[in-house]
């Protein structure tokens, strides 16, 4: 345990503030000495749908896990619409322009500019069984003083790895790689990936439970399914290192 502690102390990511797009700044609040103002931020609103019936739960849990593990995933919040809870993913951008999603041929450059974030994302996507990272990434590549590297969209992982939540949980439990393709396979650095896997493996189970459990049925996701997902993720984080070792040919990390 001591050596793990030492390993991930070395890994501390510089937490660079990410600009989220402010749509509107309104009046100042009437109280307080900090001159706070009301404002609205731009967000992408996501709902459950036939294509991804557990989208809202997935997005919420993935974000909470990422925040717990300090992973480079766009922030977001649960919100309420006429149809019940929805998920609002905050838009990463300057005031007037959103950043484009990365192109495939930009992945190599992104990996070399953000090696630690890249390794973190690969480890995370394997943990949650995300096989849909594709172009769901935003990064600044030619603006050295603005560091942005954020992944988004977690509608096709966790409970939607397979057709049903039960099959998805089974798949997460049985130690499959699931993430058979990833933008950073072939680009991620072996040493950093190893560090992130260790870091994830030692996370207290309580945190994983707290990320997954809502304390009640949440939309179509029962409490039992939430508990089972948490148990599957706890098991999966412990065997993450084995999963990666068994699939090292596919992940093809660089020996740096």
């Amino acid at each position: 345990m001591m050596s793990c502690q030492a390993d991930y102390n070395l890994l501390a990511i510089t937490m660079v503030p990410t600009p989220y797009k402010i749509h509107h700044i309104r009046r100042r609040t009437s109280t307080g000495i900090t001159l706070a103002s009301f404002c609205t931020l731009n967000a992408i609103l996501k709902f459950d749908c036939d294509e991804s019936p557990y989208c809202v739960y997935n997005e919420h849990v993935a974000t909470k896990l990422a925040q717990t593990l300090h992973l480079p995933v766009a922030d977001g919040v649960l919100t309420s619409t006429g149809d019940g809870p929805a998920y609002a993913s905050l838009e990463i951008a300057s005031p007037g322009l959103s950043l484009p999603d990365l192109l495939e041929s930009q992945h190599s450059k992104a990996a070399s500019l953000y090696p630690n974030e890249t390794a973190a994302l690969v480890a995370f996507d394997i943990l949650i069984g995300n096989n849909d990272r594709g172009r769901n990434l935003k990064a600044s590549l030619v603006t050295p003083h603005i560091k942005i590297f954020k992944a988004f969209d977690h509608s096709h992982c966790l409970l939607t790895v397979e057709e049903t939540p039960e099959d998805s949980i089974k798949r997460l439990l049985n130690g499959d790689l699931i993430t058979t393709s990833h933008p950073f396979y072939g680009h991620v650095r072996q040493s950093l990936l190893d560090d992130w896997i260790k870091r994830i493996a030692v996370v207290d189970d309580t945190y994983i439970n707290e990320c997954c459990l809502m304390g009640k049925q949440f939309r179509a996701v029962s409490e039992d399914q939430q508990r089972k997902l948490a148990s599957a993720l706890i098991r999966r984080k412990e065997v993450l290192s084995n999963i990666v070792s068994k699939n090292i040919g596919r992940i093809a990390p660089c020996l740096l």
Binding site: A93, S94, G96, L97, L99, L103, S105, S140, L141, V142
Partner: protein, 270 residues
């Protein structure tokens, strides 16, 4: 000479998607094998920044888009279908950058697609017209951004420095930009595209300022920079005088970035 048909789409800046406020800022064109694009100002975000206050705040994101389009056009040869799908996804996009409807242009000389792109650009895009002094300022701002000099430790705008020589009245000099942390650096701006008397005033002010700066040990001559626009013919005398007091850089030149960077190679960043 064989001719080809190019399909093209205007590249648009949508400042406010709610109002549908759309402005053409470039063009992307493609045939069966290659894609080409031309965008306002290229990697120099100064022209884009001149579109509006919001655009000025987003010029860094604009340069990310320019790089994105450059990569997209480069990838076209290998994966044309996939690239076309990506371009199509920008139609009516609410990302702030969008593309318009696809159209065609016939009879393009296959050896000279660049000429067709230039012609399309000139027809589709109206570049913002700015007073000359604002164009120079915008170019300088962009240069300081690209070289990251404006993010260096101790970088300040519009400062006044007072020197108090012994037994003499104080001397005050104005600097549009300076790095006030050691090793210090100072900047003056001289706009050559102006009348003779105004130019003489600027040159004299720059010489007096930089002379004082060096004389009083505020900065070394090698770190006194004069940023100018393109000097017209017959201004060699002024250029020579300025270069006696500092490093003169024409910000409209080709290798401006490396010229300026070389001065600050060992300057600590913020």
């Amino acid at each position: 000479m064989p001719s080809v048909t190019l399909r093209y789409r205007p590249i648009q800046y949508v400042e406010d998607p709610f109002c549908g406020d759309t402005r053409n800022i470039g063009v992307i064109a493609y045939d069966c094998e290659n894609a080409y694009f031309r965008i306002m100002g290229g990697t120099d975000g100064a022209l884009f920044a001149a579109l509006s206050k919001t655009a000025a705040g987003s010029s860094w994101a604009f340069t990310e888009w320019v790089e994105w389009f450059r990569t997209l056009a480069g990838d076209f040869k290998e994966q044309p279908e996939s690239m076309l799908r990506i371009v199509e996804s920008l139609f009516n996009s609410d990302l702030g950058i969008a593309v318009g409807k696809e159209a065609e242009i016939d009879g393009v000389d296959s050896d000279k697609p660049d000429e067709a792109i230039e012609w399309l650009y000139s027809r589709l895009v109206k570049e913002p017209t700015l007073p000359r002094n604002r164009i120079l300022r915008a170019k300088i701002e962009n240069l300081l951004h690209v070289t990251e000099i404006k993010y260096r430790k101790g970088f300040e705008y519009d400062i006044e420095v007072e020197f108090i020589p012994e037994g003499a009245p104080p001397i005050r000099v104005q600097l549009p930009y300076a790095i006030i942390d050691s090793p210090r650096a100072v900047f003056k701006i001289v706009r050559f595209q102006t009348g003779g008397a105004a130019l003489a005033r600027q040159v004299n002010d720059a010489i007096m300022t930089l002379g004082s700066v060096v004389e009083h040990g505020f900065a070394e001559k090698s770190r006194c920079v004069v940023l100018t626009d393109k000097p017209p013919r017959g201004r060699d005398g002024e250029l020579r005088r300025l270069s006696e007091y500092g490093v003169v850089i024409d910000v409209t030149g080709d290798n401006t970035t490396s010229q300026l960077k070389s001065i600050f190679l060992n300057q600590p960043t913020a």
